[in-house]
Amino acid sequence: MTRGGDQAGGPGGRFDPGAEAAAATAAILDSTLHGTARGVVVDSPPGAGKSTLVVRAARELAAAGERLMIVAQTNAQVDDLADRLATAEPTLPVGRLHGADSPPDPVLDRHPEVMKSSSVADLRDRTVVIATAAKWAYVKDVEPWRHAIVDEAYQMRSDALLQVAGLFERALFVGDPGQLDPFSVVGAEQWAGLSWDPSASAVLTLLAHNPGLPQHRLPVSWRLPASAAPLVSRAFYPYTPFRSGTGHGDRRLAFGVPGDGGGPDRVVDEAAESGWGLLELPARHTPRTDPEAVRAVAAVVRRLLDRGGVTYSERGEAPAPLTADRIAVGTAHRDQAAAVRGALAELGVRAGPGGVAVDTANRLQGREFDVTVVLHPLSGRPDATAFHLETGRLCVLASRHRHACIVVCRAGVADLLDEHPSSEPVRLGVTVKFPDGWEANHAVLAHLAEHRVSWRP
C-alpha cells in the first residue's frame, strides 16, 4: 500500500506525505529495534500502511538476527501477512502456525520458504512464526520469543492478550484505534473500570499497566482520497489528525456512459465528482431489511457497473476499469447484507468472492475497495441504540474506499440523532472514548448533506 518517497505533496506543496510517513516509520523501527521499553504502540488511521509497517518491522528484526512471532486476529489476516512477508523477502524462513481444522490459504503454497504446521514444535527454528491470537493461546511451555509483533491490537481483547503475552518478552503493537472495539456476547459490566477488564481492548490494558510505553502514529492515509481524509480525520480522529497521501487531482473516477438522470445515476455522478454521495430516500420507519433501501443499494451498484467506470490513480498512468471486485457494500447487520446480496442477484450482479463484496462493518474491517456503497446504520430506524451509534462502525464503513463512498439512507437521521442523545452509563475508571458515536454521526451527516441526492423510488 505504501508508496515510496516519490509522492508529490498536495497543491500547497508544503506537506510531503512520503517524507512524513518515512520519518514516522523510521522512528517506530528505531523504538522497536533499539528502544528499551518492553512495548511500542503504533496508532494507524485507515489505510496508513499498517501491514506494510508490520512486514517492514519483521524484516528488519530478522535482519538484526532476531527471531520473532507475529500475532494477528483472523486467519485471513495471518495468511495475508504471511503472503506479503514471503513476497517481500522470499528467502526469509517463515512458519505459518494454524489450527488443525483451519488449513491456511492455498495462496501460501507458492512460497517455498513458508512452512505450515499445526504444531509449534515443527516451526521452532523458523525466523518468523505467524498465527492468530486464538492459535497462539494454545501454545504452552515453550521458551518465550524475544520479540513479537501484534497486529490489529485494538481489535484484540484484553483476555486474548493475557493468554499470549507470556510467549514474548517485548512487542510492537500496531492497530487502528478508530475501528470497532472488541465485544463480548455476555455482559462484562462487572469488570468495567478495572484496568484488566477482559472485554476491553488489549491496548487499553497494556497502556493502563505500562503508562510509559512509547506511542507512535502513522500520519498519512494512502488509501483515503483527498476528498475523504479530512472528514474521516475530523470526525473520528479529532486529536490525532492525519492527511491523505494523494492530492485532489491525483485520483479520478469517470464513467463512459452518461447518467440517465435517475436517482442512482445522479448520486453516482455526485460521488464521482466529489468523492461522497448521499442517496436520500423519503423518511419512514422501516424494518431492518428495508426493501426500498436495499433495492436502492443494489440499483446503485448495478449502475456503477453498467456505466463503464474507470479509475485514474497515482498507481499507474493507465486507467483501471471499475470492476465488481473493486466495489463493496457495507451494512450494519448480517441480515441486511443477505438482503442486499439477494437484491443484487435479482439484478444479475454477482456477490461474494470475485464479485461485489457485501458484508457487515465487522467483516469489512481492514479491507480496501475503489468505491463503497453503504447502507446507513441508522436508516429508517425508530431509535438510535449504542450498537448503531458505535463510532467504529461508521468509521469502518466510511473509510474503505480509494475513490468514492455512496451512502444510502432514509431522511430524518439527523432528527433521530437529536432525539437520542447518548445515554450510555459512564463508569468510573473507564477511559471515555472520543469522539462519541453521536458526535461522529452528526459530523458525517453534515458533510454528506452537501452531496445529497433526494430520490423517491
Binding site: 483476555d159 484496568s195 497494556l206
Partner: protein, 521 residues
C-alpha cells in the same frame, strides 16, 4: 420472532408461549426469597419472606430499618433461614467416575435453588452478599460491631449464588420475571415485564379479565386506602405505602421505644410487622404462582446437563468453604476475570445451541435468522474421501424454505438420535430460492457414520427424509487454559500483589480516597 410474538400477544390480549419446553431447572422445593428494602438508605433491609414451603414462609421484619443492631439481627435471621436450606444439599453426594482429564470426584447429587421475584431482587442478593461476607463476628474479640457467627458465611453463599447467576443457563439463583419472560411473550415492554404482578396478569389473567386489564390492575390498581393491590415485587416499596402507612407506624414504634414501655412497644412492633407482611405476601404468592405455571411445562432435554454444571459449581464452593478459604475478593484479578468471561461465553454458546435443539420454537427463530435450516432430502450421492483409507462422504441435496446464511465450506451440524455428539457436515453450495422453487443446499456429511467403510445404519438420511442442520456447533468447547494468576504477564500488571500497578490487592482502587472539604459538607 419475539417482536411477532409480542404483537400477537397485544392482538390476543394475553401472553403467548415463547417456548414449548421449560428451559430452566425448577427444583422440587425451591427456596423462595422475597426481600424488601427501605427507601432512603441504599440496601437497608425492611423485611423478607423466605422459605421452601409456600404455606409456611419465614417472615423477617426490621422494625426500625436505620438501627444497625436490628439490621444485624435480620442478617442472623436470614442466615438461620437460608444456610440450613443450603447445607441440606451439601452431604448428599454421588461419585463422578474419572475421565481422561479429571480424577474421580464427588459431586453433590442435587443443589439448592433460590428464586427471587425480579432482577432487582437478584441484584439485592448480590449486595447482601457483598455487605455481609466481610463482617467480623463475635468470635473476633476486637470487632467493634460483631455479628452472629453464621452471617459472613451467609454472605459468601449469597455472593456465590449471585456470581453464578451471571452464567447463562445457570439455575442456582434465578429471578421469576426472567423465567417467565423466557417462556412467554407479553404485549408490554421489557421494562414493564419486570413487574411480576403485571407479567402474571398477561400470562394468567384472573377470570373475566384480559391480559392488559389484569396487568394495569396489578401495576396501578389501589384499594380504598390508596394502597396498591399488587405492591411492587421489591425490593423497593411503594412510596404511598411508605408515606401514608409505614412512616406513622415507624414513628409510633420509635416513640414507644424511647418511652421504654414494653406493652406499647410490642403493639407497635406487631403493627410494623403486619404492614410489612401485607406488602410481602402478594409477591410471595405471585412467585409461587409463577412456579406453578412453569411446572406445567415439560423440562427441556438439555436442562439436566446444565443443572449438573450448577451442581459442580455448588460442590466447588462447598469445598472452598470447608477448606477454610477466605471469602471471595472484592475484585477479580486479571486471570480470574478472563476465566469467568471465557466460561460465560462458552455457557452462552452452549445455551444458544441447546435451547434450539430442545425446542422447535427456538429452532424456528434460528432458522429465520439463517443460522439453521430444515428441509427434505432430494438426493443422496455417495462419495468417498481421498486418502489411504477412503471414508464415506455422502453428499445430500436438501430443499428448504429457509435462507441459510452460509458460505461454501461452512460447517454444519445435525443432531442424531441415540448419539451424544452431533453429526458434522460441510456446506458445499447454497442456491437461493428462485420464484416458487425452494432454496437448495448441498451438504457433505463428514462424520457421525462410524468408522467402517460403509456408513453405520441410519446415520445417513434417505431421500424424502426431513433433516435439520444447524450452522452452530451443538456442544461448543471452551478455549485454552489461561495462565496461573502467579504468571500474570507484564501487559496485565504482573502477578497479583506484586506491587506497582499490580493486579489485585494493590491496585490504585485500594488506596482510600483523599478526604476533601466536600466530605464535611
Amino acid at each position: 420472532m419475539n417482536v411477532l410474538a409480542r404483537a400477537e400477544a397485544v392482538a390476543r390480549g394475553r401472553a403467548v408461549p415463547a417456548a414449548t419446553v421449560r428451559h430452566h431447572r425448577l427444583a422440587e422445593s425451591p427456596l423462595v426469597f422475597v426481600p424488601l428494602t427501605t427507601a432512603g438508605e441504599a440496601g437497608a433491609p425492611l423485611g423478607a419472606m423466605i422459605g421452601t414451603e409456600r404455606t409456611a414462609p419465614t417472615v423477617l421484619v426490621v422494625p426500625q430499618p436505620l438501627d444497625r443492631a436490628q439490621r444485624f439481627d435480620f442478617f442472623a435471621g436470614l442466615a438461620a433461614a437460608i444456610l440450613p436450606a443450603i447445607e441440606e444439599y451439601a452431604d448428599d453426594v454421588e461419585t463422578e467416575p474419572a475421565t481422561r482429564n479429571r480424577e474421580e470426584a464427588e459431586v453433590c447429587a442435587d443443589a439448592p435453588q433460590m428464586i427471587v421475584p425480579n432482577a432487582a431482587a437478584l441484584e439485592y442478593v448480590r449486595l447482601l452478599g457483598r455487605s455481609t461476607r466481610y463482617l467480623r463476628t463475635v468470635e473476633d474479640p476486637e470487632a467493634p460491631h460483631p455479628v452472629p457467627v453464621p452471617v459472613p458465611l451467609l454472605g459468601r453463599w449469597l455472593t456465590h449464588l449471585a456470581e453464578r447467576a451471571r452464567t447463562p443457563g445457570s439455575a442456582l439463583l434465578v429471578a421469576m420475571t426472567d423465567l417467565l419472560t423466557r417462556h412467554w411473550a407479553t404485549g408490554q415492554s421489557a421494562m414493564e415485564d419486570q413487574h411480576l404482578g403485571g407479567l402474571l396478569g398477561w400470562i394468567d389473567p384472573p377470570p373475566g379479565m384480559d391480559g392488559p386489564a389484569a396487568a394495569a390492575r396489578a401495576q396501578t390498581g389501589r384499594d380504598r386506602h390508596g394502597l396498591l393491590l399488587s405492591p411492587p415485587a421489591g425490593p423497593a416499596t411503594d412510596p404511598v405505602f411508605d408515606n401514608r402507612v409505614l412512616a406513622p407506624a415507624l414513628e409510633r414504634y420509635d416513640a414507644a421505644r424511647s418511652a421504654g414501655t414494653a406493652g406499647p412497644l410490642r403493639v407497635a412492633e406487631a403493627d410494623v410487622r403486619r404492614l410489612v407482611t401485607s406488602q410481602l405476601q402478594p409477591t410471595w404468592d405471585d412467585v409461587w404462582h409463577g412456579v406453578d405455571l412453569l411446572r406445567a411445562l415439560p423440562e427441556g432435554a438439555h436442562v439436566a446437563e446444565r443443572w449438573k454444571r450448577d451442581r459442580w459449581s455448588f460442590t466447588g464452593h462447598r469445598d472452598r468453604v470447608r477448606a477454610g478459604e477466605p471469602p471471595q475478593p472484592k475484585r477479580d484479578d486479571a486471570v480470574t476475570a478472563a476465566q469467568k468471561l471465557a466460561g460465560r461465553e462458552t455457557a452462552q454458546a452452549r445455551l444458544f445451541a441447546q435451547e434450539a435443539l430442545d425446542d422447535p420454537l427456538v429452532m424456528a427463530a434460528r432458522r429465520l435468522g439463517g443460522e439453521a435450516f430444515a428441509g427434505t432430502v432430494l438426493a443422496v450421492e455417495m462419495t468417498y474421501s481421498e486418502g489411504r483409507r477412503p471414508m464415506p462422504r455422502p453428499v445430500l441435496t436438501v430443499a428448504t424454505p429457509d435462507v441459510p446464511q452460509a458460505d461454501p465450506g461452512a460447517k454444519a451440524y445435525r443432531a442424531l438420535p441415540d448419539t451424544r455428539s452431533a453429526q458434522s457436515a460441510e456446506v458445499l453450495d447454497v442456491v437461493p430460492a428462485r420464484g416458487s422453487a425452494e432454496c437448495t443446499v448441498t451438504v457433505k456429511i463428514t462424520g457421525g457414520m462410524g468408522t467402517g467403510k460403509l456408513p453405520r445404519e441410519g446415520s445417513v438420511p434417505e431421500v424424502g427424509e426431513r433433516v435439520t442442520f444447524t450452522l452452530f456447533a451443538h456442544d461448543p468447547r471452551g478455549g485454552p487454559a489461561l495462565p496461573e494468576a502467579e504468571a500474570t504477564p507484564w501487559t496485565h500488571g504482573g502477578p497479583p500483589g506484586a506491587g506497582g500497578t499490580g493486579a489485585g490487592g494493590t491496585g490504585p482502587g485500594d488506596v482510600p480516597d483523599v478526604v476533601t472539604a466536600e466530605d464535611f459538607l
